[in-house]
Symmetry: D2
Subunit: 253 residues, 4 copies
Amino acid sequence: MSVILDLNSDLGEGFGVWQLGDDKALLSIVTSANVACGFHGGDPTIMRRVCAEAISRDVSIGAHVGYRDLAGFGRRAMDIEPDRLADDVLYQLAALDGIARSEGGRVRYVKPHGALYNRTVTDQAQAGAVVAAVAAYDPSLPVLGLPGSQLLRQADEVGLKTVREAFADRGYQSDGSLAKRGSPGAVITDPAVVARRCVKMATTGQVTAVDGGAVGVRARSLCVHGDTPGAVELARQVRTALQDAGVQLGTFT
Amino acid sequence: MSVILDLNSDLGEGFGVWQLGDDKALLSIVTSANVACGFHGGDPTIMRRVCAEAISRDVSIGAHVGYRDLAGFGRRAMDIEPDRLADDVLYQLAALDGIARSEGGRVRYVKPHGALYNRTVTDQAQAGAVVAAVAAYDPSLPVLGLPGSQLLRQADEVGLKTVREAFADRGYQSDGSLAKRGSPGAVITDPAVVARRCVKMATTGQVTAVDGGAVGVRARSLCVHGDTPGAVELARQVRTALQDAGVQLGTFT
Amino acid sequence: MSVILDLNSDLGEGFGVWQLGDDKALLSIVTSANVACGFHGGDPTIMRRVCAEAISRDVSIGAHVGYRDLAGFGRRAMDIEPDRLADDVLYQLAALDGIARSEGGRVRYVKPHGALYNRTVTDQAQAGAVVAAVAAYDPSLPVLGLPGSQLLRQADEVGLKTVREAFADRGYQSDGSLAKRGSPGAVITDPAVVARRCVKMATTGQVTAVDGGAVGVRARSLCVHGDTPGAVELARQVRTALQDAGVQLGTFT
Amino acid sequence: MSVILDLNSDLGEGFGVWQLGDDKALLSIVTSANVACGFHGGDPTIMRRVCAEAISRDVSIGAHVGYRDLAGFGRRAMDIEPDRLADDVLYQLAALDGIARSEGGRVRYVKPHGALYNRTVTDQAQAGAVVAAVAAYDPSLPVLGLPGSQLLRQADEVGLKTVREAFADRGYQSDGSLAKRGSPGAVITDPAVVARRCVKMATTGQVTAVDGGAVGVRARSLCVHGDTPGAVELARQVRTALQDAGVQLGTFT
């Protein structure tokens, strides 16, 4: 039985004259594109271009929704009221979906960005707000997130499809949680090691934890980064290694 | 044969803690609500509330699209590239439509706001950008605007339905154009006079121009303002006078 | 020996076309104006007008610095890195001071706004960032804040002058802390009661706590609100009651 | 008699996570840094870093003031009321000056950015607004701009010092105006040619116009760009060629 794995990455993260990452290169690597929707990054023109390119390459478009914080790129947790957060998510999701539709595609999933991603791992109210917005907009849209997170738990509870993701270059603790950034082994930079770990995850559902033991990491999607030239190259190597190992790459939608 | 006239007004023009106009009062008066989409005013929460209220009162929701200029409320003309403008309009339109749909309705027309409204009367490129965005999003959506404007001309050329509007409280020149703000008779403030003129427009298709002659003003929709308590009261009197004169009020969608 | 008390209030909290509160009315009541600096509210034109009016009335101008969050009016706590927060505060403070100087005055103190005010009561890093910005800009500027707060403690440690404030309409617990919003007695709305409490605070340094006992509240400045017509009227009554009780009103700068 | 020429370039044009140009490299080349002030680009942290680096290298700091338009990088002309524009300029200028002072320097001149630069060449009202803001803030600050522009003319009229600039890589018409972008010879890209022209301008006050004749271009400052790696290299070659030709490089302040 062949394994199918999705590769997702963040795209369209520029704003106006400013660029971040190499969207074109990443779209030749991933199967799912988390497209910024204008609140933490992205603008209508960038969104349209990324959607058009993603559609032409048959890459699945996801709404990468974030806090309204261009100055901080959505990386600063905010104590926003859940109702307002739900409205902000709905707005972003609808805007991207309309742009995708005008290019002949549509949004196929939702993933929170940055601090909102981290916050909704444990914050019930904010996780519930994201889930409510997705359910209000289109209850057939899956939510992509961290296994065990409040986000996926609540999405599941209201009947949304959930998709579990793993991280290509992050270290895991023995309980399956991510090793905290800054701790030893939290981020792995050697492309060969990263590629090998990704193949192991995909084919065995396990990865070596920071304490040396094996830990189960079952994920339908693998997140790769692309905000530096090195990151794009690493993503390409991960893709090649997975294909060489017989892992079939394909979106979950 | 009875005359049917639409009453439209700008709504949802607050932002965050700030309010502008009395949305609830206006929604009890108009048949079409031009809802700000977040670029010159409006935010996702305000948009949702106005949509919900409009739907419950059977008021038609229009996308009031504007320049990205919260600080200037979209009242300052901008030399924006047409392609970027089209993307900005598409984004706003899609965002509002998604919010309206999540509340059980949908966007039923598009009207430019403020400086974009004025600019697209004569600016071919910007008018074309607005038209292109509407056509790309949903070619069944009508465009509401000034008779004779580039906006309506180009909308018509690409096959979009166009809706002509007149202004309840503005003076007209003998050629049917609006008297320039600041010139004598450009803005009429006496509610009785305004109401009488609106009835005349609706029933005869004519209004007294600033030079005293009669001028034809054929419009399917009448724009009333609501950003001051006095304006709301004036709008109410216009509505009452029209109904008393046997004019049927109803949206064009 | 006569008591001197400062009355401070938040001013200039509009943005663009949007207004909040009655700046003119408040400037006839208070002795210190906390002027929004453009990040959570306020814009350059509003700032200049409020500064001009404050100077003409001999009201002291303070920089009311906040999170960069127009959509949330600076009322949502943000996990911003201290270094960036310090830069944001410095920017706001400098902008307001330059505007005040161009009108013939200058900024005479600093007070954090909204969520930043609340956060810096206990958050060492963010309190330190605000203090660092003030010290870097002008170490002779006092910081206005809550007695016992991290903000005042750290300001004091680096040699900044600190000014303690009390709240006219808030209930106090027996330990001198504010009763939590939503709890019984947390906000007092009867103008007569508020005025009486303010006179008692000013003349005895004590106020009746929510549990009925007396609690010491020694403050050099009293904060009154003005964002509603009722609040302005309440502030006026507080001023009158204090003057009738022989309390001299005057700024601390 | 030795010629002294200033080299100016735009710096600090990133925003949040986004970067534009190589600030460090440019600061090793130019003698004056036009620092973005947060309205079209730049943020408080970038402003502080650029100021610190400029001060350490003895590069003169100028306020590069622009329209409030992050999405368009200040490159889109706006019909902003002159009074509001003056306030926006004052705010930006004051903010940068405060940051520069906190780092031990100060703003030494003002230059409009992008569309505001172009607009104030001919627009009397907007040129007057920029001039009014500079005069209100500090009448000893020079204004850097295009010879013959409304900006310099009005600055001169109110007694501000004016500094004329030329462009290293732009073609000139026989009347001394810039060749319109898009026309033949409007932008010169060959580094050797650019360097030779700059030396000729600096030493003879003349340059070859697009029609082949000689045209007088007397400027105290030469503008070089740095928003691409190639541009930085070109700027470096211009500097070297000028120095090799015995032109002394030095700021005008």
